[in-house]
């Protein structure tokens, strides 16, 4: 049986019982964290590469219409990143993302993970997601000062969500 938290994230009673952090993550993201953090190092790398390969699948479909588009090149990222946000019935958010060719492999992988893990969540659930899951997914071996842009896409998704909410409030 699933329950819904204050931020719209869902979790099972068993998950709730076993993990104090479960309330923080939307369930699909939770599943991905669970998957990655128990993988041996080599399998973790292989799965991250698969995720990176799939990043293109999360690009906007041709002709798709979005409620918000935020495409820019920030100094802390090596290339342009575009965040495209669509709000569906029930106030659920769906992200599409474009990545410039110079973006690091880990950032590509995290883009796939975040799209799969966050799509369908409510705005507050996105804003509440803490970034502490990142090392659990990529593992200590890959946590480096120069791989910090792995956090960048999450921050851009949160920024886009906040921009959308601000805009909606202004129009209300």
């Amino acid at each position: 049986m699933m329950e819904v938290g204050r931020n719209g994230a869902t979790w099972s009673a068993l998950q709730l019982k076993n993990h104090s952090n479960y309330f923080m993550y939307p369930e699909p993201l939770n599943d991905l964290i669970d998957l990655f953090e128990h993988l041996p190092e080599q399998e973790r790398r292989e799965n991250l590469v698969v995720m990176a390969d799939n990043a293109k699948r999360h690009e906007p479909a041709e002709g798709a219409i979005f409620d918000l588009e935020d495409v820019r090149k920030d100094e802390e990222c090596t290339d342009t990143v575009g965040i495209y946000l669509r709000i569906d019935e029930g106030d659920k958010l769906y992200f599409s993302v474009t990545l410039g060719p110079m973006v690091q492999t880990l950032t590509k992988a995290m883009t796939s993970i975040l799209c799969r893990g966050l799509n369908g969540s409510k705005p507050q659930a996105i804003l509440d997601v803490p970034a502490d899951f990142v090392p659990r997914i990529i593992g200590a071996e890959l946590v480096r000062l120069r791989s910090q842009t792995v956090y960048y896409v999450l921050s851009r998704m949160k920024t886009a969500t906040k921009m959308y909410l601000d805009r909606r409030r202004a129009l209300a």
Binding site: V49, Q104, T105, R144
Partner: protein
């Protein structure tokens, strides 16, 4: 580019005009000389992508990829290439230092490298980390080492083959080097301070804003914990990228001489120190100065700005 067969034929004609039946082991083949390379001080310190494509299966060659992007090797690499991770493999995990003799020997043995193996280094970021790995190998005296001109990006741009298959080599019996020759290739902070005081030549290869002190991190990178911005007093600014073309290849000898000999005024017998922020960009410049331009005494200050800019009571100059 000359084809391999044609090259072998011309090599035989050139070197063995009488005994044409002599068959050379592949490891003895000279690089089919890229015309650009011949003007460098050590032309054989580089190979080009065509040469490497023709020598992928040479058992006496080991290809080593070293990147900043930690998963790039896993996404596909030059067939037969092994991965050397600059931090995991080359750095000591507890002391800010490089691996010792034992650690270096273990890397070589693991990858089936012997002292006779010619190592071809390549990587992302115009070979920053490949130059860094090359430099670490020189600390241990592995002189049979070359850089792939243009690195990974040129190989990929030319649609040359990539694979995800990780090669397996039989472990070698690489003998332990007698020493890690830091004195020749590496400058410590105290030596750099003496160098500064003596007003000997020093090149800061970071971006202009890092040099001036306007920023403490390079563009598009996170702050790596430096408390002071600026540069070592007396150092000249010459960003590493000055030496590279947009495709990642090294500029011609003539262009490099214009930059370092004419513009910076470096003399052949100068004692030169290069630095950046953690020593990888300056490895690129170190390679250019030592191998392409033939400066005899060039050291890389690998502590670089993350050490100097944090050191208590160490002088800093700003130009911002």
């Amino acid at each position: 580019m000359m084809g391999l067969q044609h090259y072998l034929h011309s090599l035989e004609s050139c070197l063995f005009p009488v005994a044409k039946h002599v068959i050379l082991p592949t490891s003895l083949f000279l690089s089919p000389m890229n015309p650009k390379f011949s003007a460098y001080s050590q032309p054989d310190s580089l190979v080009d992508t065509d040469w490497l494509a023709a020598n992928l299966n040479d058992p006496n060659v080991r290809i080593v990829e070293s990147n900043e992007d930690l998963l790039l090797y896993d996404t596909g690499h030059i067939p037969g290439a092994v991965h050397i991770d600059w931090r995991r493999d080359l750095n000591d995990e507890t002391v800010r230092d490089y691996v010792g003799i034992e650690g270096f020997t273990a890397i070589c043995r693991r990858h089936g490298i012997t002292p006779e193996t010619t190592i071809i280094f390549y990587g992302d970021k115009s070979n920053w980390w490949a130059c860094y790995a090359f430099w670490v190998f020189q600390l241990f005296g592995h002189s049979k080492a070359k850089m792939l001109d243009g690195g990974r990006s040129k190989w990929v741009a030319e649609n040359k083959p990539l694979t995800r298959e990780t090669p397996k080599f039989s472990p070698s019996e690489y003998p332990s080097p007698a020493l890690r020759n830091d004195a020749e290739h590496r400058a410590y902070q105290s030596q750099t301070l003496e160098h500064m005081t003596a007003k000997r030549p020093m090149v800061d290869v970071r971006s202009p804003k890092e040099f001036s002190g306007e920023t403490t991190h390079m563009p598009e990178y996170p702050q790596e914990g430096v408390l002071r911005g600026g540069h070592i007093p007396g150092a000249k600014s010459c960003p590493w990228a000055t030496a590279a073309n947009t495709d990642g290849t090294f500029k011609t000898a003539e262009e490099l001489r214009q930059i370092y000999t004419v513009n910076l005024g470096f003399q052949q017998d100068d004692d030169i120190i290069a630095y950046c922020r953690i020593g990888e960009r300056s490895s690129h410049t170190w390679f250019v100065l030592k191998y392409l331009l033939g400066y005899q005494k060039v050291r890389n200050y690998d502590g670089s700005w993350t050490e100097w800019g944090n050191m208590v009571r160490t002088p800093v100059e700003k130009s911002f």
